[in-house]
C-alpha cells in the first residue's frame, strides 16, 4: 500500500491540482471571512438592540432572543439545508456559495450577538450608571464608555469563533460549494488514494487554522495582561 502511495504522489501534485486545491482553500477562507464579518456586524446590532429599555421594544427583544437561542441550538448542517431548500422552494435563483454564505452569516450573527452581549455585561454596572447620569445617548454611551472597555472582552472569543468556522464550513461541501473538503471528495472520486486526497486537505486546513489559533491565543494573553 505504501509503495503505491509513493507512486501516486507525482501524479497527485500536478500544477492544475495545486491550482484547484489553493483556489478551494481561498474559497473556504472567503466564505468564513466574509460570513463572519457580516455576521459580526449583524450580531453587534442585535446585541445593541437588546440594550433598549421600554415596553415598545419588548416584541423586538423577544424576537432577537428567540433568534439567538434557536440558531445556536441547530446544527450547521440542518441550517444549511433549511436555507438551501428555502431558496429552492421560494424560487430564489442564487448560487450554492451564496446559500452557504447566508447560512454562515445567520449563525455567526447569533453567536456573536451572545459574545458581544457578554462583553457589554463585563463592563461594570457603575460605568453604565455613570453614562446614565451624564445623560449620554445610546450611541455616546457605546462609543465613549462601553466599547473602549468591552472590546478586549469581545475580541478573543469572536476571533476563536472565526477560527472554528474555518473548520465548520467543511459542511458546505455537502450542498456542492467547491471548497476544500469538496476538493478532497473530488480527488477521492478521481481514484487517488484517500490517504493522499484527504491527507492533503487536512494539512491545508491545519496550515490555515494553526497560525490563526496561535495568533488568537497570543492576543488573548496580551489583552488579559493589559487589563490590569
Amino acid at each position: 500500500m505504501a509503495g503505491s502511495l509513493w507512486e501516486e504522489i507525482p501524479r497527485f501534485f500536478t500544477y492544475y491540482n495545486w491550482v484547484f486545491l489553493l483556489e478551494a482553500a481561498g474559497r473556504t477562507l472567503l466564505l468564513t471571512g466574509v460570513g463572519c464579518l457580516v455576521g459580526f456586524a449583524l450580531g453587534f446590532y442585535l446585541a445593541v438592540a437588546r440594550l433598549y429599555h421600554g415596553r415598545i421594544f419588548l416584541p423586538f427583544k423577544v424576537i432577537i432572543v428567540l433568534y439567538v437561542e434557536i440558531f445556536r441550538r441547530v446544527p450547521f448542517l440542518v441550517t444549511l439545508m433549511l436555507v438551501f431548500f428555502f431558496c429552492q422552494g421560494f424560487g430564489l435563483e442564487v448560487s450554492v456559495f451564496t446559500v452557504a454564505l447566508a447560512t454562515v452569516c445567520l449563525i455567526a450573527a447569533s453567536y456573536t450577538a451572545e459574545i458581544v452581549r457578554a462583553g457589554f455585561e463585563a463592563v461594570h454596572h457603575t460605568q453604565w450608571e455613570a453614562t446614565e447620569v451624564m445623560n449620554f445617548t445610546l450611541g455616546q454611551k457605546l462609543r465613549l464608555v462601553v466599547i473602549p472597555q468591552a472590546w478586549k472582552v469581545i475580541l478573543p472569543p469572536a476571533f476563536s469563533f472565526f477560527i472554528a468556522f474555518i473548520k465548520d464550513t467543511a459542511l458546505a461541501s455537502q450542498i456542492g460549494v467547491v471548497e476544500l473538503t469538496y476538493v478532497g471528495k473530488v480527488f477521492n472520486n478521481k481514484g487517488f488514494s484517500p490517504v493522499l486526497a484527504f491527507g492533503a486537505i487536512l494539512v491545508l486546513y491545519y496550515l490555515m487554522s494553526y497560525p490563526l489559533a496561535r495568533f488568537g491565543a497570543w492576543m488573548e494573553k496580551r489583552l488579559v495582561v493589559s487589563k490590569h
Binding site: M81, L82, F85
Partner: protein
Amino acid sequence: MNYTIHFNLVWKYVPDLLQGAVLSFQIALLAFLGGMIIGLVGASIKIFGGRVSRGIVQAYVSFFMNTPQLVQIYFFFFALPQAGLLLSPYQAVLVGMTLNAGAYLTEIQRAGFLSVHKAELEAADTLGMSLTQTIWYVIFPHICKVLFPPLSNHYIIMTLGTSMAAIFGVEELTGRAFNINAVTFRSIEVFILTAGIYVGITILASLILMFSGRWLFRIKGKVF
C-alpha cells in the same frame, strides 16, 4: 413563489425523527465519555509527562483541534480500509468524534487541573492529608467546579456535531430527516421539524446539566 407549507404530510414522521434523536444522543454520549477518558490521560501526560510524551499529546491535540471534524471522519472512513481496517459508518463517526472530543477535552481538563493553586496543595500537606485524601477532598471538588461549565458546554456542541453522521449514512436525527425528505419532498417542513427537535433536545440537555451542576457542585449556571 409557489411553495405552500404543508406540515400535515410530515407530522406522522415525528416518532421516526425522535428515534433518530435517541441515536444522536447515544453517539454524543459515547463520544463524550470516550473523549473524557482520552482527555484525562492526555491532560495528565501534558502536566506530568516527559518531553517526548508531552510532544506526542501536543501534536495530537493541535492536529485534531485545527482540522475539521468532517474531514477527520472522511479520513477514517475512506483511508483506514486501505490499511485493512474496515469501519462501518457508525463506527467511523464514533471513532472520529471520540478522537476529536479527546483533543478538546484534553485542553479543557488541563486548564482545570492547572486551576488548583499550589497553596491549596500545600495547605492539604500541612494538614497531614495523604495523597488520596488530597485528591478526594481538595483537588476533586475544586476541579469539578471549574470544569463543569466548559464540559457541559462542549457536550452541547457535540450533540450538534452528531449531525455530521448523516453524511455517512448513519440514521440519526439529521440522517432520518434526509431520508424523510427523499420520501415526502417536503424539504422545508422536514428540516424545520428537525431543527425544532434539535432545539428541544439541547435545551433539555442544558436544563439537566444546569440542575445537576447546581445540585452537585453548587454552580450558578444558566440555560439562556
